[in-house]
Symmetry: C2
Subunit: 327 residues, 2 copies
Protein backbone atom coordinates (compact mmCIF):
# COMPACT_ATOMS: atom_id res chain seq x y z
CA UNK A 1 0.00 0.00 0.00
CA UNK A 2 1.45 3.33 -1.02
CA UNK A 3 1.87 5.95 1.66
CA UNK A 4 -0.12 8.56 -0.21
CA UNK A 5 -3.25 6.48 -0.02
CA UNK A 6 -3.24 6.57 3.79
CA UNK A 7 -5.58 9.14 5.26
CA UNK A 8 -3.60 11.93 6.91
CA UNK A 9 -4.28 12.99 10.49
CA UNK A 10 -5.74 16.49 10.85
CA UNK A 11 -3.62 19.47 11.86
CA UNK A 12 -5.17 19.36 15.33
CA UNK A 13 -4.47 15.67 15.72
CA UNK A 14 -0.87 16.17 14.65
CA UNK A 15 -0.29 19.21 16.88
CA UNK A 16 -1.90 17.51 19.85
CA UNK A 17 -0.06 14.25 19.23
CA UNK A 18 3.31 15.99 19.01
CA UNK A 19 2.50 17.94 22.15
CA UNK A 20 1.84 14.63 23.91
CA UNK A 21 5.14 13.19 22.62
CA UNK A 22 3.18 10.60 20.68
CA UNK A 23 5.90 8.90 18.66
CA UNK A 24 3.52 7.49 16.10
CA UNK A 25 2.10 10.94 15.47
CA UNK A 26 5.62 12.42 15.30
CA UNK A 27 6.48 9.80 12.71
CA UNK A 28 3.46 10.65 10.64
CA UNK A 29 4.22 14.36 10.94
CA UNK A 30 7.72 13.77 9.58
CA UNK A 31 6.26 11.73 6.73
CA UNK A 32 4.03 14.69 5.86
CA UNK A 33 6.98 17.07 5.96
CA UNK A 34 8.90 14.72 3.66
CA UNK A 35 6.02 14.24 1.26
CA UNK A 36 5.98 15.86 -2.15
CA UNK A 37 2.17 15.98 -2.39
CA UNK A 38 0.89 19.54 -2.57
CA UNK A 39 -1.78 18.85 0.06
CA UNK A 40 0.87 17.45 2.41
CA UNK A 41 3.11 20.42 1.82
CA UNK A 42 0.32 22.78 2.82
CA UNK A 43 -0.38 20.73 5.92
CA UNK A 44 3.35 20.66 6.76
CA UNK A 45 3.60 24.44 6.55
CA UNK A 46 0.68 24.87 8.95
CA UNK A 47 2.01 22.19 11.29
CA UNK A 48 5.45 23.76 11.47
CA UNK A 49 3.90 27.14 12.20
CA UNK A 50 1.76 25.64 14.93
CA UNK A 51 4.68 24.01 16.76
CA UNK A 52 7.41 26.60 16.19
CA UNK A 53 7.00 28.19 19.64
CA UNK A 54 7.90 24.83 21.18
CA UNK A 55 11.11 24.37 19.22
CA UNK A 56 14.69 25.35 19.95
CA UNK A 57 15.10 23.74 23.34
CA UNK A 58 17.16 20.71 22.38
CA UNK A 59 20.87 20.18 22.03
CA UNK A 60 21.43 19.70 18.31
CA UNK A 61 24.44 17.51 17.58
CA UNK A 62 25.85 16.61 14.19
CA UNK A 63 28.02 13.53 13.83
CA UNK A 64 30.07 12.39 10.88
CA UNK A 65 32.69 9.80 10.12
CA UNK A 66 33.53 7.52 7.22
CA UNK A 67 32.21 3.96 7.13
CA UNK A 68 34.28 1.76 9.40
CA UNK A 69 34.81 4.18 12.28
CA UNK A 70 31.94 2.61 14.21
CA UNK A 71 29.35 5.33 13.90
CA UNK A 72 26.36 3.09 14.55
CA UNK A 73 28.00 1.51 17.59
CA UNK A 74 28.91 4.96 18.86
CA UNK A 75 25.35 6.22 18.46
CA UNK A 76 24.02 3.10 20.18
CA UNK A 77 26.33 3.59 23.13
CA UNK A 78 25.96 7.39 23.27
CA UNK A 79 22.19 7.15 22.99
CA UNK A 80 21.91 4.45 25.62
CA UNK A 81 23.96 6.55 28.04
CA UNK A 82 21.85 9.62 27.37
CA UNK A 83 18.55 7.84 27.87
CA UNK A 84 19.94 6.37 31.10
CA UNK A 85 20.46 9.98 32.21
CA UNK A 86 16.75 10.56 31.57
CA UNK A 87 17.26 12.34 28.25
CA UNK A 88 15.04 11.76 25.27
CA UNK A 89 17.06 11.30 22.12
CA UNK A 90 16.13 11.53 18.45
CA UNK A 91 18.49 10.22 15.77
CA UNK A 92 18.02 11.58 12.27
CA UNK A 93 20.22 10.66 9.38
CA UNK A 94 20.99 12.73 6.33
CA UNK A 95 22.39 10.78 3.47
CA UNK A 96 20.99 11.60 0.03
CA UNK A 97 22.77 8.69 -1.61
CA UNK A 98 21.47 5.92 0.62
CA UNK A 99 17.92 7.10 0.11
CA UNK A 100 18.28 6.30 -3.57
CA UNK A 101 18.65 2.63 -2.79
CA UNK A 102 15.99 2.90 -0.08
CA UNK A 103 18.38 0.81 1.96
CA UNK A 104 18.68 3.00 4.99
CA UNK A 105 15.36 2.13 6.62
CA UNK A 106 16.24 -1.48 7.19
CA UNK A 107 19.81 -0.46 7.85
CA UNK A 108 18.99 1.91 10.69
CA UNK A 109 16.84 -0.62 12.50
CA UNK A 110 19.36 -3.42 12.27
CA UNK A 111 22.46 -1.41 13.03
CA UNK A 112 21.07 0.18 16.19
CA UNK A 113 19.21 -2.74 17.69
CA UNK A 114 19.15 -1.60 21.32
CA UNK A 115 18.43 2.03 20.66
CA UNK A 116 15.62 1.23 18.24
CA UNK A 117 13.81 -0.59 21.05
CA UNK A 118 14.43 2.12 23.64
CA UNK A 119 11.25 4.03 24.47
CA UNK A 120 13.19 7.25 25.01
CA UNK A 121 14.90 7.07 21.65
CA UNK A 122 13.45 7.85 18.26
CA UNK A 123 15.32 6.79 15.14
CA UNK A 124 14.38 8.12 11.76
CA UNK A 125 16.30 7.22 8.61
CA UNK A 126 17.23 9.64 5.86
CA UNK A 127 14.23 10.87 3.92
CA UNK A 128 13.78 9.80 0.34
CA UNK A 129 14.69 12.46 -2.18
CA UNK A 130 17.47 12.77 -4.65
CA UNK A 131 18.77 16.26 -3.95
CA UNK A 132 20.83 17.16 -0.94
CA UNK A 133 18.96 20.46 -0.65
CA UNK A 134 15.66 18.66 -0.36
CA UNK A 135 16.95 16.15 2.16
CA UNK A 136 18.57 18.91 4.25
CA UNK A 137 15.36 20.95 4.26
CA UNK A 138 13.38 17.98 5.51
CA UNK A 139 15.92 17.07 8.17
CA UNK A 140 15.84 20.67 9.46
CA UNK A 141 12.09 20.47 9.76
CA UNK A 142 12.27 17.04 11.40
CA UNK A 143 14.58 18.54 14.04
CA UNK A 144 11.90 21.11 14.84
CA UNK A 145 9.17 18.46 15.05
CA UNK A 146 11.29 16.31 17.37
CA UNK A 147 11.95 19.33 19.57
CA UNK A 148 8.26 20.13 19.72
CA UNK A 149 7.67 16.52 20.74
CA UNK A 150 9.96 17.04 23.73
CA UNK A 151 13.21 15.42 22.61
CA UNK A 152 16.16 16.83 24.57
CA UNK A 153 18.94 15.80 22.25
CA UNK A 154 18.80 15.55 18.47
CA UNK A 155 21.58 13.66 16.77
CA UNK A 156 21.93 14.28 13.05
CA UNK A 157 24.13 11.71 11.43
CA UNK A 158 25.92 11.95 8.09
CA UNK A 159 28.40 9.81 6.23
CA UNK A 160 31.41 12.09 5.95
CA UNK A 161 32.25 11.41 2.35
CA UNK A 162 29.85 13.62 0.46
CA UNK A 163 28.52 17.13 0.38
CA UNK A 164 26.13 16.68 3.26
CA UNK A 165 28.53 17.69 6.07
CA UNK A 166 28.21 21.40 5.41
CA UNK A 167 24.44 21.05 5.38
CA UNK A 168 24.53 19.26 8.73
CA UNK A 169 27.04 21.73 10.18
CA UNK A 170 24.52 24.45 9.30
CA UNK A 171 21.67 22.85 11.24
CA UNK A 172 23.35 21.78 14.48
CA UNK A 173 24.92 23.43 17.51
CA UNK A 174 27.79 21.02 17.89
CA UNK A 175 29.55 19.03 15.19
CA UNK A 176 31.45 15.90 16.09
CA UNK A 177 33.92 14.12 13.83
CA UNK A 178 34.33 10.44 14.64
CA UNK A 179 37.60 8.82 13.63
CA UNK A 180 39.84 5.86 14.34
CA UNK A 181 43.59 5.65 14.72
CA UNK A 182 45.29 4.56 11.56
CA UNK A 183 48.17 6.83 10.65
CA UNK A 184 46.21 9.05 8.32
CA UNK A 185 44.58 6.19 6.43
CA UNK A 186 41.30 6.80 8.20
CA UNK A 187 41.09 10.13 6.42
CA UNK A 188 41.19 8.68 2.93
CA UNK A 189 37.43 8.95 2.63
CA UNK A 190 36.91 12.25 4.46
CA UNK A 191 36.50 15.36 2.36
CA UNK A 192 38.89 18.23 2.90
CA UNK A 193 37.46 21.00 5.02
CA UNK A 194 35.43 18.76 7.30
CA UNK A 195 38.08 18.67 10.00
CA UNK A 196 37.96 22.43 10.40
CA UNK A 197 34.19 22.28 10.83
CA UNK A 198 34.38 20.00 13.86
CA UNK A 199 33.74 21.13 17.43
CA UNK A 200 35.25 17.89 18.71
CA UNK A 201 37.31 15.04 17.30
CA UNK A 202 36.58 11.65 18.79
CA UNK A 203 38.85 8.68 18.18
CA UNK A 204 36.78 5.54 18.55
CA UNK A 205 37.92 1.95 19.06
CA UNK A 206 40.40 3.00 21.76
CA UNK A 207 40.56 -0.44 23.34
CA UNK A 208 42.77 -3.54 23.45
CA UNK A 209 45.71 -3.41 21.09
CA UNK A 210 44.30 -0.26 19.62
CA UNK A 211 44.55 1.76 22.84
CA UNK A 212 48.11 2.91 22.29
CA UNK A 213 47.66 3.96 18.63
CA UNK A 214 44.45 5.76 19.64
CA UNK A 215 46.25 7.75 22.31
CA UNK A 216 49.06 8.55 19.90
CA UNK A 217 46.52 9.72 17.34
CA UNK A 218 44.86 11.84 20.02
CA UNK A 219 48.15 13.58 20.74
CA UNK A 220 48.92 14.08 17.06
CA UNK A 221 45.51 15.61 16.37
CA UNK A 222 45.79 17.83 19.43
CA UNK A 223 49.05 19.19 18.08
CA UNK A 224 47.55 19.65 14.64
CA UNK A 225 44.45 21.41 15.93
CA UNK A 226 46.65 23.78 17.87
CA UNK A 227 47.87 25.00 14.48
CA UNK A 228 44.36 25.56 13.21
CA UNK A 229 42.85 29.01 13.33
CA UNK A 230 40.89 29.51 16.54
CA UNK A 231 37.16 28.82 16.64
CA UNK A 232 34.90 31.84 16.14
CA UNK A 233 33.19 31.13 19.45
CA UNK A 234 36.47 30.94 21.36
CA UNK A 235 35.99 27.19 21.87
CA UNK A 236 39.07 25.01 21.91
CA UNK A 237 38.32 21.90 19.87
CA UNK A 238 39.11 18.87 22.06
CA UNK A 239 40.28 15.45 20.92
CA UNK A 240 38.75 12.58 22.87
CA UNK A 241 39.18 8.85 22.73
CA UNK A 242 36.45 6.32 23.41
CA UNK A 243 35.46 2.72 22.91
CA UNK A 244 31.84 2.67 21.88
CA UNK A 245 31.70 -1.11 21.94
CA UNK A 246 33.03 -1.19 25.52
CA UNK A 247 31.03 1.89 26.55
CA UNK A 248 34.19 3.69 27.62
CA UNK A 249 34.67 7.45 27.39
CA UNK A 250 31.16 8.04 26.12
CA UNK A 251 29.85 10.04 29.06
CA UNK A 252 32.90 12.27 28.91
CA UNK A 253 31.97 13.21 25.37
CA UNK A 254 28.49 14.15 26.51
CA UNK A 255 29.96 16.23 29.31
CA UNK A 256 32.17 18.03 26.75
CA UNK A 257 29.08 18.84 24.72
CA UNK A 258 27.29 20.09 27.84
CA UNK A 259 30.25 22.36 28.63
CA UNK A 260 30.16 23.69 25.10
CA UNK A 261 26.44 24.33 25.27
CA UNK A 262 26.60 26.19 28.57
CA UNK A 263 29.57 28.39 27.62
CA UNK A 264 28.18 29.23 24.19
CA UNK A 265 24.75 29.92 25.68
CA UNK A 266 26.28 32.30 28.22
CA UNK A 267 28.41 34.07 25.64
CA UNK A 268 25.45 34.48 23.32
CA UNK A 269 27.27 32.60 20.57
CA UNK A 270 24.66 29.84 20.46
CA UNK A 271 21.83 32.31 19.86
CA UNK A 272 23.81 34.12 17.19
CA UNK A 273 24.70 30.84 15.49
CA UNK A 274 21.10 29.63 15.45
CA UNK A 275 19.84 32.98 14.14
CA UNK A 276 22.44 32.92 11.40
CA UNK A 277 21.50 29.32 10.57
CA UNK A 278 17.83 30.25 10.26
CA UNK A 279 18.55 33.16 7.96
CA UNK A 280 20.97 31.12 5.88
CA UNK A 281 18.38 28.38 5.58
CA UNK A 282 15.80 30.89 4.39
CA UNK A 283 18.20 32.27 1.82
CA UNK A 284 19.01 28.78 0.62
CA UNK A 285 15.33 28.06 0.14
CA UNK A 286 14.81 31.32 -1.73
CA UNK A 287 17.81 30.59 -3.92
CA UNK A 288 16.62 27.04 -4.58
CA UNK A 289 13.19 28.35 -5.56
CA UNK A 290 14.69 30.96 -7.90
CA UNK A 291 16.99 28.41 -9.49
CA UNK A 292 14.27 25.80 -9.89
CA UNK A 293 12.14 28.37 -11.66
CA UNK A 294 15.04 29.36 -13.89
CA UNK A 295 16.77 26.06 -14.67
CA UNK A 296 13.55 24.07 -14.61
CA UNK A 297 12.03 26.09 -17.42
CA UNK A 298 11.75 23.53 -20.26
CA UNK A 299 12.43 26.24 -22.84
CA UNK A 300 15.79 26.94 -21.17
CA UNK A 301 17.15 23.45 -20.59
CA UNK A 302 18.77 22.79 -23.96
CA UNK A 303 20.10 26.30 -24.19
CA UNK A 304 21.71 26.03 -20.74
CA UNK A 305 23.26 22.65 -21.52
CA UNK A 306 24.83 23.92 -24.72
CA UNK A 307 26.09 27.15 -23.19
CA UNK A 308 27.50 25.33 -20.16
CA UNK A 309 29.62 23.10 -22.41
CA UNK A 310 31.09 26.09 -24.21
CA UNK A 311 31.76 27.93 -20.96
CA UNK A 312 33.45 24.89 -19.41
CA UNK A 313 35.75 24.59 -22.40
CA UNK A 314 36.62 28.28 -22.20
CA UNK A 315 35.17 28.91 -25.68
CA UNK A 316 32.51 31.34 -24.57
CA UNK A 317 32.90 34.25 -22.18
CA UNK A 318 30.92 33.83 -18.97
CA UNK A 319 29.56 37.35 -19.18
CA UNK A 320 28.29 36.75 -22.71
CA UNK A 321 26.86 33.37 -21.73
CA UNK A 322 24.88 34.71 -18.80
CA UNK A 323 23.67 37.72 -20.76
CA UNK A 324 22.34 35.43 -23.46
CA UNK A 325 20.48 33.34 -20.88
CA UNK A 326 18.75 36.42 -19.49
CA UNK A 327 18.03 38.09 -22.81
Amino acid sequence: MKDRSIKRPSLDELTHGIDQSDRMMLSRAITIVESKLASDQQLATKLLDSVIHKTGKSVRIGITGVPGVGKSTFIESFGTHLTALGKKLAVLSIDPSSSLTKGSILGDKTRMTHLSQNSNAFIRPSPAGTSLGGVAQKTRESILLCEAAGFDVILVETVGVGQSETAVRDMVDFFLLLMIAGGGDELQGIKRGIMEMADALVINKADGNNLKPANQAKKAYENALHLFPPHESGWTVPVKTCSAIKNEGILEIWSTIETYMSTSTESGYLTRQREAQNVKWMHELIRARLETNFFGDPAMKDKITQITKKVAAGELGVRHAVNSLFS
Copy 2:
Protein backbone atom coordinates in the same frame (compact mmCIF):
# COMPACT_ATOMS: atom_id res chain seq x y z
CA MET B 1 38.45 64.57 -14.21
CA LYS B 2 36.14 61.62 -13.78
CA ASP B 3 37.00 58.46 -15.56
CA ARG B 4 33.67 58.21 -17.31
CA SER B 5 34.29 61.43 -19.22
CA ILE B 6 37.35 59.94 -20.95
CA LYS B 7 36.69 58.74 -24.45
CA ARG B 8 36.94 54.94 -24.60
CA PRO B 9 39.16 53.20 -27.15
CA SER B 10 37.28 51.19 -29.77
CA LEU B 11 36.92 47.42 -29.60
CA ASP B 12 39.53 47.10 -32.37
CA GLU B 13 41.97 49.39 -30.60
CA LEU B 14 41.54 47.43 -27.38
CA THR B 15 41.86 44.02 -29.01
CA HIS B 16 44.87 45.08 -31.01
CA GLY B 17 46.49 46.79 -28.01
CA ILE B 18 46.06 43.75 -25.83
CA ASP B 19 47.42 41.56 -28.60
CA GLN B 20 50.50 43.79 -28.70
CA SER B 21 50.89 43.55 -24.91
CA ASP B 22 50.30 47.28 -24.67
CA ARG B 23 50.11 47.83 -20.94
CA MET B 24 48.28 51.13 -21.22
CA MET B 25 45.63 49.50 -23.37
CA LEU B 26 45.41 46.53 -20.97
CA SER B 27 44.88 49.00 -18.15
CA ARG B 28 42.11 50.74 -20.02
CA ALA B 29 40.52 47.40 -20.89
CA ILE B 30 40.44 46.44 -17.22
CA THR B 31 38.90 49.81 -16.39
CA ILE B 32 36.15 49.09 -18.92
CA VAL B 33 35.57 45.65 -17.42
CA GLU B 34 35.32 47.24 -13.98
CA SER B 35 33.03 50.04 -15.08
CA LYS B 36 29.35 50.09 -14.19
CA LEU B 37 28.34 52.12 -17.25
CA ALA B 38 26.02 50.18 -19.52
CA SER B 39 27.98 51.19 -22.62
CA ASP B 40 31.20 49.95 -20.99
CA GLN B 41 29.58 46.69 -19.98
CA GLN B 42 28.56 46.05 -23.58
CA LEU B 43 32.05 46.87 -24.76
CA ALA B 44 33.54 44.60 -22.08
CA THR B 45 31.39 41.67 -23.17
CA LYS B 46 32.53 42.07 -26.77
CA LEU B 47 36.14 42.53 -25.74
CA LEU B 48 36.15 39.41 -23.58
CA ASP B 49 34.62 37.42 -26.44
CA SER B 50 37.24 38.70 -28.85
CA VAL B 51 40.19 37.71 -26.66
CA ILE B 52 38.89 34.48 -25.14
CA HIS B 53 40.77 32.22 -27.57
CA LYS B 54 44.03 33.73 -26.29
CA THR B 55 43.33 33.05 -22.62
CA GLY B 56 44.12 30.12 -20.38
CA LYS B 57 47.86 29.90 -20.97
CA SER B 58 49.11 31.44 -17.73
CA VAL B 59 49.86 29.95 -14.34
CA ARG B 60 47.19 31.37 -12.05
CA ILE B 61 48.37 31.66 -8.48
CA GLY B 62 46.37 32.82 -5.48
CA ILE B 63 48.16 34.10 -2.42
CA THR B 64 46.78 34.94 0.98
CA GLY B 65 48.07 35.76 4.43
CA VAL B 66 47.10 38.08 7.23
CA PRO B 67 48.67 41.55 7.49
CA GLY B 68 52.12 41.27 9.00
CA VAL B 69 53.28 38.10 7.27
CA GLY B 70 55.12 40.16 4.66
CA LYS B 71 52.88 39.58 1.69
CA SER B 72 54.01 42.67 -0.24
CA THR B 73 57.67 41.89 0.33
CA PHE B 74 57.05 38.32 -0.76
CA ILE B 75 55.33 39.43 -3.95
CA GLU B 76 58.15 41.89 -4.65
CA SER B 77 60.76 39.20 -4.26
CA PHE B 78 58.78 36.47 -6.02
CA GLY B 79 57.89 38.80 -8.90
CA THR B 80 61.44 40.04 -9.30
CA HIS B 81 62.71 36.46 -9.48
CA LEU B 82 60.08 35.52 -12.04
CA THR B 83 60.78 38.48 -14.29
CA ALA B 84 64.50 37.66 -14.06
CA LEU B 85 63.58 34.24 -15.45
CA GLY B 86 61.98 36.03 -18.39
CA LYS B 87 58.42 35.62 -17.16
CA LYS B 88 55.84 38.33 -17.45
CA LEU B 89 53.92 38.73 -14.22
CA ALA B 90 50.60 40.38 -13.44
CA VAL B 91 49.58 41.07 -9.85
CA LEU B 92 45.89 41.56 -9.18
CA SER B 93 44.48 42.12 -5.74
CA ILE B 94 41.04 41.24 -4.54
CA ASP B 95 40.02 43.01 -1.40
CA PRO B 96 36.49 44.37 -1.32
CA SER B 97 37.06 46.21 1.95
CA SER B 98 40.07 48.24 0.92
CA SER B 99 38.30 49.44 -2.18
CA LEU B 100 35.79 51.15 0.07
CA THR B 101 38.48 53.44 1.40
CA LYS B 102 40.01 53.70 -2.06
CA GLY B 103 43.29 53.24 -0.25
CA SER B 104 44.66 50.35 -2.22
CA ILE B 105 45.79 52.24 -5.31
CA LEU B 106 48.36 54.31 -3.48
CA GLY B 107 49.09 51.33 -1.26
CA ASP B 108 49.98 48.96 -4.09
CA LYS B 109 52.38 51.39 -5.72
CA THR B 110 54.20 52.24 -2.53
CA ARG B 111 54.37 48.77 -1.08
CA MET B 112 55.83 47.16 -4.21
CA THR B 113 58.26 49.82 -5.32
CA HIS B 114 60.60 47.68 -7.41
CA LEU B 115 57.98 45.56 -9.04
CA SER B 116 55.85 48.55 -9.97
CA GLN B 117 58.77 49.90 -12.03
CA ASN B 118 59.55 46.57 -13.66
CA SER B 119 58.57 46.54 -17.32
CA ASN B 120 57.68 42.85 -17.19
CA ALA B 121 55.36 43.28 -14.24
CA PHE B 122 51.87 44.69 -14.21
CA ILE B 123 50.27 45.63 -10.90
CA ARG B 124 46.60 46.36 -10.65
CA PRO B 125 44.89 47.14 -7.34
CA SER B 126 41.54 45.80 -6.24
CA PRO B 127 38.67 47.19 -8.28
CA ALA B 128 36.23 49.55 -6.67
CA GLY B 129 32.92 47.95 -5.81
CA THR B 130 31.29 47.11 -2.55
CA SER B 131 30.27 43.51 -3.07
CA LEU B 132 32.68 40.61 -3.07
CA GLY B 133 30.76 39.03 -5.93
CA GLY B 134 31.30 42.07 -8.10
CA VAL B 135 34.97 42.34 -7.26
CA ALA B 136 35.53 38.63 -7.88
CA GLN B 137 33.79 38.80 -11.25
CA LYS B 138 36.00 41.68 -12.33
CA THR B 139 39.16 40.02 -11.11
CA ARG B 140 38.29 36.88 -13.07
CA GLU B 141 37.86 38.94 -16.19
CA SER B 142 41.08 40.84 -15.52
CA ILE B 143 42.91 37.51 -15.35
CA LEU B 144 41.64 36.71 -18.85
CA LEU B 145 42.67 40.12 -20.19
CA CYS B 146 46.17 39.77 -18.69
CA GLU B 147 46.48 36.32 -20.24
CA ALA B 148 45.43 37.64 -23.63
CA ALA B 149 48.09 40.34 -23.21
CA GLY B 150 50.71 37.63 -22.86
CA PHE B 151 51.34 37.49 -19.12
CA ASP B 152 52.77 34.13 -18.09
CA VAL B 153 51.98 34.23 -14.41
CA ILE B 154 49.00 35.89 -12.75
CA LEU B 155 49.20 36.42 -9.03
CA VAL B 156 45.89 37.12 -7.32
CA GLU B 157 46.39 38.46 -3.85
CA THR B 158 43.88 38.53 -1.00
CA VAL B 159 44.01 39.50 2.63
CA GLY B 160 43.17 36.24 4.37
CA VAL B 161 40.77 37.60 6.92
CA GLY B 162 37.55 37.88 4.99
CA GLN B 163 35.35 35.98 2.64
CA SER B 164 37.46 36.56 -0.42
CA GLU B 165 39.70 33.49 -0.09
CA THR B 166 37.10 31.09 -1.42
CA ALA B 167 36.50 33.41 -4.36
CA VAL B 168 40.22 33.50 -5.11
CA ARG B 169 40.58 29.74 -4.61
CA ASP B 170 37.89 29.36 -7.27
CA MET B 171 39.76 31.40 -9.89
CA VAL B 172 43.33 30.13 -9.56
CA ASP B 173 45.24 26.93 -10.24
CA PHE B 174 47.43 27.06 -7.16
CA PHE B 175 46.64 28.61 -3.80
CA LEU B 176 49.45 29.62 -1.50
CA LEU B 177 49.06 30.46 2.18
CA LEU B 178 51.78 32.75 3.51
CA MET B 179 52.47 32.57 7.24
CA ILE B 180 55.11 33.34 9.83
CA ALA B 181 56.30 31.33 12.79
CA GLY B 182 54.63 32.39 15.99
CA GLY B 183 53.32 29.41 17.90
CA GLY B 184 49.79 29.66 16.55
CA ASP B 185 49.47 33.41 17.07
CA GLU B 186 49.92 34.04 13.37
CA LEU B 187 46.63 32.30 12.78
CA GLN B 188 44.58 34.63 14.95
CA GLY B 189 43.41 36.54 11.92
CA ILE B 190 43.00 33.66 9.48
CA LYS B 191 39.54 32.28 8.95
CA ARG B 192 38.94 28.61 9.61
CA GLY B 193 38.88 26.52 6.48
CA ILE B 194 41.53 28.50 4.63
CA MET B 195 44.34 26.17 5.62
CA GLU B 196 42.63 23.22 3.95
CA MET B 197 42.29 25.21 0.73
CA ALA B 198 46.02 25.75 0.38
CA ASP B 199 48.21 23.93 -2.15
CA ALA B 200 51.31 25.10 -0.28
CA LEU B 201 52.09 26.67 3.08
CA VAL B 202 54.99 29.10 3.07
CA ILE B 203 56.54 30.34 6.29
CA ASN B 204 58.10 33.72 5.59
CA LYS B 205 60.67 35.64 7.61
CA ALA B 206 62.81 32.53 8.04
CA ASP B 207 65.99 34.48 8.75
CA GLY B 208 68.20 35.58 11.66
CA ASN B 209 66.79 34.74 15.06
CA ASN B 210 63.62 33.66 13.39
CA LEU B 211 65.23 30.84 11.42
CA LYS B 212 64.89 28.25 14.15
CA PRO B 213 61.25 29.02 15.02
CA ALA B 214 60.47 29.01 11.29
CA ASN B 215 61.95 25.56 10.83
CA GLN B 216 60.12 24.31 13.90
CA ALA B 217 56.88 25.71 12.52
CA LYS B 218 57.58 24.03 9.20
CA LYS B 219 57.92 20.67 10.92
CA ALA B 220 54.80 21.21 13.01
CA TYR B 221 52.72 22.12 9.97
CA GLU B 222 54.09 19.18 8.02
CA ASN B 223 52.93 16.88 10.79
CA ALA B 224 49.57 18.60 10.93
CA LEU B 225 49.04 18.46 7.17
CA HIS B 226 49.80 14.77 7.25
CA LEU B 227 46.64 14.41 9.32
CA PHE B 228 44.57 16.33 6.79
CA PRO B 229 42.50 14.47 4.25
CA PRO B 230 44.46 14.03 1.01
CA HIS B 231 44.16 16.53 -1.82
CA GLU B 232 41.66 15.65 -4.54
CA SER B 233 44.39 15.92 -7.16
CA GLY B 234 46.72 13.60 -5.27
CA TRP B 235 49.05 16.51 -4.52
CA THR B 236 50.90 16.46 -1.20
CA VAL B 237 50.73 19.98 0.23
CA PRO B 238 54.30 21.05 1.02
CA VAL B 239 55.45 23.42 3.74
CA LYS B 240 58.26 25.74 2.69
CA THR B 241 60.25 28.39 4.47
CA CYS B 242 61.58 31.55 2.88
CA SER B 243 62.90 34.98 3.62
CA ALA B 244 61.35 37.37 1.14
CA ILE B 245 63.39 40.30 2.40
CA LYS B 246 66.65 38.34 1.92
CA ASN B 247 65.42 36.71 -1.31
CA GLU B 248 65.99 33.25 0.12
CA GLY B 249 63.87 30.22 -0.75
CA ILE B 250 61.81 32.13 -3.29
CA LEU B 251 62.89 30.26 -6.39
CA GLU B 252 62.19 26.97 -4.66
CA ILE B 253 58.59 28.04 -4.19
CA TRP B 254 58.33 28.80 -7.90
CA SER B 255 59.79 25.41 -8.71
CA THR B 256 57.18 23.78 -6.42
CA ILE B 257 54.46 25.57 -8.35
CA GLU B 258 55.98 24.46 -11.65
CA THR B 259 56.01 20.85 -10.44
CA TYR B 260 52.40 21.15 -9.42
CA MET B 261 51.43 22.61 -12.78
CA SER B 262 53.16 19.93 -14.79
CA THR B 263 51.82 17.00 -12.77
CA SER B 264 48.28 18.35 -12.68
CA THR B 265 48.42 19.14 -16.41
CA GLU B 266 49.54 15.59 -17.14
CA SER B 267 46.91 14.02 -14.92
CA GLY B 268 44.19 16.15 -16.47
CA TYR B 269 43.32 17.59 -13.06
CA LEU B 270 44.16 21.13 -14.13
CA THR B 271 41.77 21.01 -17.08
CA ARG B 272 39.03 19.53 -14.93
CA GLN B 273 39.57 22.17 -12.26
CA ARG B 274 39.45 25.04 -14.73
CA GLU B 275 36.33 23.67 -16.40
CA ALA B 276 34.65 23.29 -13.03
CA GLN B 277 35.72 26.83 -12.11
CA ASN B 278 34.21 28.22 -15.31
CA VAL B 279 30.92 26.45 -14.76
CA LYS B 280 30.81 27.48 -11.10
CA TRP B 281 31.51 31.05 -12.09
CA MET B 282 28.66 30.96 -14.60
CA HIS B 283 26.31 29.56 -11.99
CA GLU B 284 27.37 32.21 -9.51
CA LEU B 285 26.61 34.92 -12.05
CA ILE B 286 23.23 33.40 -12.83
CA ARG B 287 22.44 33.13 -9.14
CA ALA B 288 23.58 36.71 -8.54
CA ARG B 289 21.38 37.91 -11.35
CA LEU B 290 18.36 35.99 -10.03
CA GLU B 291 18.93 37.26 -6.51
CA THR B 292 19.44 40.85 -7.61
CA ASN B 293 16.16 40.69 -9.49
CA PHE B 294 14.42 39.20 -6.48
CA PHE B 295 15.92 41.06 -3.52
CA GLY B 296 16.38 44.28 -5.45
CA ASP B 297 12.68 44.58 -6.18
CA PRO B 298 11.68 47.72 -4.21
CA ALA B 299 8.27 46.23 -3.47
CA MET B 300 9.95 43.29 -1.71
CA LYS B 301 12.59 44.99 0.39
CA ASP B 302 10.52 45.87 3.48
CA LYS B 303 8.74 42.56 3.40
CA ILE B 304 12.01 40.64 3.25
CA THR B 305 13.52 42.64 6.10
CA GLN B 306 10.54 42.00 8.37
CA ILE B 307 10.32 38.32 7.53
CA THR B 308 14.06 37.83 7.99
CA LYS B 309 13.85 39.21 11.53
CA LYS B 310 11.08 36.81 12.45
CA VAL B 311 12.88 33.87 10.89
CA ALA B 312 16.14 34.70 12.68
CA ALA B 313 14.33 34.78 16.01
CA GLY B 314 12.67 31.45 15.29
CA GLU B 315 9.20 33.01 15.41
CA LEU B 316 8.26 32.20 11.86
CA GLY B 317 8.72 28.92 10.05
CA VAL B 318 11.16 29.11 7.16
CA ARG B 319 8.81 27.24 4.84
CA HIS B 320 5.97 29.68 5.60
CA ALA B 321 8.32 32.65 5.24
CA VAL B 322 9.58 31.62 1.82
CA ASN B 323 6.10 30.71 0.61
CA SER B 324 4.86 34.15 1.55
CA LEU B 325 7.71 35.79 -0.37
CA PHE B 326 6.83 33.87 -3.51
CA SER B 327 3.06 34.21 -3.24
